[in-house]
């Protein structure tokens, strides 16, 4: 999937920073241009943008798809005032940008659970699940929790399964999910130790991991984004989702209006539309904000809280500390 994305280097009206853009899209015919940078695949947000320009005929949305690290670097380097909204699924980076004062207050007052300081607003959630190939490991459907999974994979019963998960050293999302797993459950290291006894591979992206499970290359993929899995189910009968009972993580997709945005009113209007019933209806059901309350099987969904505590994950010394432990567990031969 990522291989399909063509890397484009476009020098926007920035003083010194060149944005590394993965895709550039226009929605609408209006004369007022609202520029949004975001990590989401355009196909995910396009219906919402289309709904917005449908009710705001004078607007056209200019969407620049970028990686979360690019976004972070670009904001810190000083964004052009053309950019009116910053959307990202890297909630830790987003929180740190807001903590460091790069965002402005939103006009509307939102529910405390949806926002931090009324500057960073949650637009959608991305639940995280574990998937496996039913043909390769039929018994796995009965597993209810991470402890049970560890127990099941730990014995002599099964050996040398192909298991994959995000590489926290490469993927920001993978790192964040591992840190949150640790916060939820100290036994995460033990689970990793069990996984590591098998044929354990680290991966960059959800898409690749799903491909591997569908093809049978991998038996199990721990922590993949559910919204990428769901569309594949129809064409992959052996692909099965495992929703644990202990807890299910979810990553909030968040947005803020940068301080220097020159069209903050329009950006606010887009945010209001995004969280409105109409806007949410245009998202795929599994990422809507109300998915947290919905009964979708498995244990409680625990979206990562939008809190400034997330900035400690990004701290270099904390990263070092994590990886020294990680390397001790995972990379020992």
């Amino acid at each position: 999937m990522r291989s399909l994305v063509c890397y484009v280097l476009i020098l926007l009206s920035l003083e010194s920073y060149a944005l590394e853009i993965e895709g550039e899209f226009l929605v609408g015919q209006g004369s007022d241009e609202l520029t949004v940078i975001g990590t989401s695949d355009f196909s995910r947000v396009q219906p919402v943008f289309a709904g917005f320009v449908g009710s705001h005929r004078e607007v056209r949305i200019h969407y620049l798809q970028m990686s979360s690290r690019e976004i972070d670097a670009a904001v810190r380097a000083g964004l052009s005032s053309d950019i009116d909204l910053v959307m990202s699924s890297a909630v830790d980076l987003q929180v740190r940008l807001v903590n460091d004062g790069y965002a402005q207050q939103l006009d509307a007052r939102f529910d405390q659970r949806l926002t931090w300081r009324n500057e960073l607003i949650q637009l959608a959630v991305e639940p995280v699940v574990t998937i496996f190939n039913r043909a390769r490991f039929p018994n796995l459907g009965t597993v209810n929790s991470r402890r049970e999974l560890a127990h099941k994979l730990d014995g002599n019963e099964v050996k040398n399964l192909q298991i994959t998960m995000y590489d926290p050293a490469i993927s920001g999302v993978g790192y964040l999910l591992s840190r949150q797993d640790l916060i939820q459950d100290e036994h995460f290291w033990q689970l990793l130790e069990v996984l590591e006894q098998h044929d354990f591979r680290l991966n960059c992206c959800s898409g690749d991991m799903i491909d591997q499970v569908v093809s049978g290359q991998s038996t199990l993929a721990y922590n993949v984004l559910e919204s990428y899995v769901l569309p594949r189910l129809a064409n992959a009968p052996e692909l099965e989702i495992l929703r644990f009972d202990d807890y299910q993580l979810a990553i909030p997709r968040t947005a803020f209006v940068p301080k220097q945005a020159n069209d903050a009113d329009l950006a606010n209007a887009l945010v209001n539309y995004f969280v409105s019933e109409d806007g949410q209806k245009r998202l795929v059901p599994s990422v809507r904000l109300d998915v947290v309350q919905s009964n979708r099987g498995g244990g409680p969904i625990k979206p990562i809280r939008i809190t400034p505590a997330l900035i400690v994950h990004l701290d270099e010394s904390n990263r070092r500390r994590f990886f020294s432990r990680w390397d001790a567990v995972v990379n020992t031969p």
């Binding site: 460091d100 004062g101 916060i183 505590a309 400690v312 701290d315 010394s317």
Partner: protein, 447 residues
């Protein structure tokens, strides 16, 4: 008497002033106290986080290993939606975090406030030597903005100030009610006094609170004095009438008898005696009249008086006097509903009588004295005109002087008229007529 201010108004402004001052003071002091206590709580939270990091520090070969605890930061983040900053130092070398945090001015001071990135921020710094006795310090700085704490304290202060304001307003209302209640007996006395007729000098009998007993006693004493004075005055007038008029009448009678008996040589002297006795009689009458008018003025008896009808009655009464002098009395324009004024009937009758009587005295035989009434600009005017000698320019101003007399006539007449005019908010104007004679205009206000 014009009242420039009211007790209630003054009390209200004093009260309002105090209310404003007290509310501001309460707001200011509450804000300071609450802000301080919130700040202490915030400092304790910051201290806890700094201490946890400090305690996690472990000396390794190369450097120091420590952990920034997610949960501790989370607790801090839960307390308020504020920005959080941190920095970890080994001596002056930064190991992690924000490298531009402001440091405390003195090493002993662990909590301090600074403006950081444009926002008021609290900081806490904690440190310990990396090993016992070492000079190298491991230090942790935790910062948190305090906007919402400040907002919270000013909100609390505003509520408390509002509560104070409200209770003071309630107190003010209560004070107003109490004041009204307390002043009730005074108001009752005031009503009594207003309703009392002018010649009623009986003491106030109402039961009054101890605070106003002295006031009422004083009033009663003044009433008593006035009643005594008036009674004395009345007695004096009655006495004087009797004591003065009787001997003069006797002298006059004797003089008239004497005139017929004396020889022609002495007759002119007796005639002079008679004229002087008559003058004395008239002067006595007028003096008593003046005293009576003063007494009536004190009484203040008033009712509706038709000046036209009054003048007509006076003309009828004076007709015989005029006839003796061969003077014609002519009344013009005496009937109109507009001639009604509010005044003392007896005083008015005496005043107008004096004026006409005076004119008859001055009028030469076989001339007319013309009397007319008119209404002009809310006033009623009685005009008396004679064809006598008129008054000298120099004497116009002295006409009312009670000590002067002119042409052998008693001088008190015009001063009585003047007095009646003054007590009816009117005036007397005297002028000389063209072609000879005097014109007197006596004005009265209608109400």
């Amino acid at each position: 008497m014009d009242s420039g201010w009211s007790i209630r108004g003054r009390l209200f402004s004093l009260w309002l002033l105090m209310l404003i001052v007290v509310s501001l003071a309460v707001y200011w002091s509450t804000n300071a106290v609450v802000e301080r206590s919130l700040r202490e709580g915030q400092d304790r939270n910051l201290q806890a986080v700094a201490q946890v990091i400090l305690d996690s520090a472990v000396k390794t070969d190369a450097t120091i290993d420590f952990e920034l605890p997610y949960q501790a930061f989370e607790v801090l983040a839960y307390s308020a939606p504020e920005r959080i900053y941190y920095a970890v130092f080994l001596d002056s070398e930064i190991l992690s975090g924000y490298d531009d945090l402001p440091l405390s001015e003195s090493p002993e001071q662990s909590s301090y406030g600074e403006i950081y990135r444009g926002e008021s921020t609290r900081f806490y710094v904690a440190g310990k030597p990396i090993r016992p006795g070492s000079n190298e310090q491991f230090r942790v700085v935790i910062g948190q903005t305090e906007t919402s704490y400040q907002k919270q304290s000013s909100t609390i202060a505003a509520w408390i100030a509002f509560a104070v304001l409200a209770s003071f307003a309630l107190l003010a209302l209560w004070a107003e009610l109490s004041l009204r209640h307390a002043l009730k007996p005074v108001v009752a006395i005031e009503k009594d006094l207003i309703a009392r007729p002018a010649d009623d000098f009986s003491p106030i009998e109402r039961r009054v609170p101890s605070e106003v007993v002295r006031l009422v006693q004083t009033l009663n004493r003044i009433f008593d004095q006035h009643r005594g004075l008036l009674q004395e005055n009345r007695a004096f007038i009655a006495e004087a009438t009797h004591q003065i008029k009787t001997p003069i009448a006797a002298i006059l009678m004797r003089a008239e008898l004497l005139e017929r008996e004396v020889e022609d040589g002495s007759r002119s002297a007796v005639k002079d005696l008679i004229i002087r006795a008559r003058y004395a009689s008239k002067l006595a009458t007028q003096l008593l009249m003046r005293a009576t008018l003063t007494y009536r003025e004190v009484l203040g008896a008033r009712d509706q008086v038709d000046i036209g009808a009054l003048v007509a009655g006076i003309l009828r009464a004076l007709d015989p006097v005029a006839e003796i002098k061969d003077v014609g009395l002519v009344g013009n324009n005496l009937e109109s509903a507009e001639f009604i004024i509010f005044g003392d009937r007896i005083a008015l009758r005496e005043g107008i009588t004096c004026l006409i009587d005076n004119a008859i005295d001055y009028a030469p035989s076989l001339t007319d004295v013309e009397v007319s009434v008119r209404h002009d600009g809310g006033r009623v005017c009685v005009t008396v005109m004679d064809s006598g000698p008129g008054i000298d320019q120099q004497e116009l101003g002295r006409a009312f002087d009670t000590t002067k007399r002119s042409g052998g006539h008693a001088g008190l007449g015009l001063s009585i008229v003047e007095k009646v005019a003054a007590s009816h908010r009117g005036e007397l104007m005297i002028s000389n007529r063209e072609g000879g004679g005097t014109r007197c205009d006596l004005w009265f206000a209608t109400s």
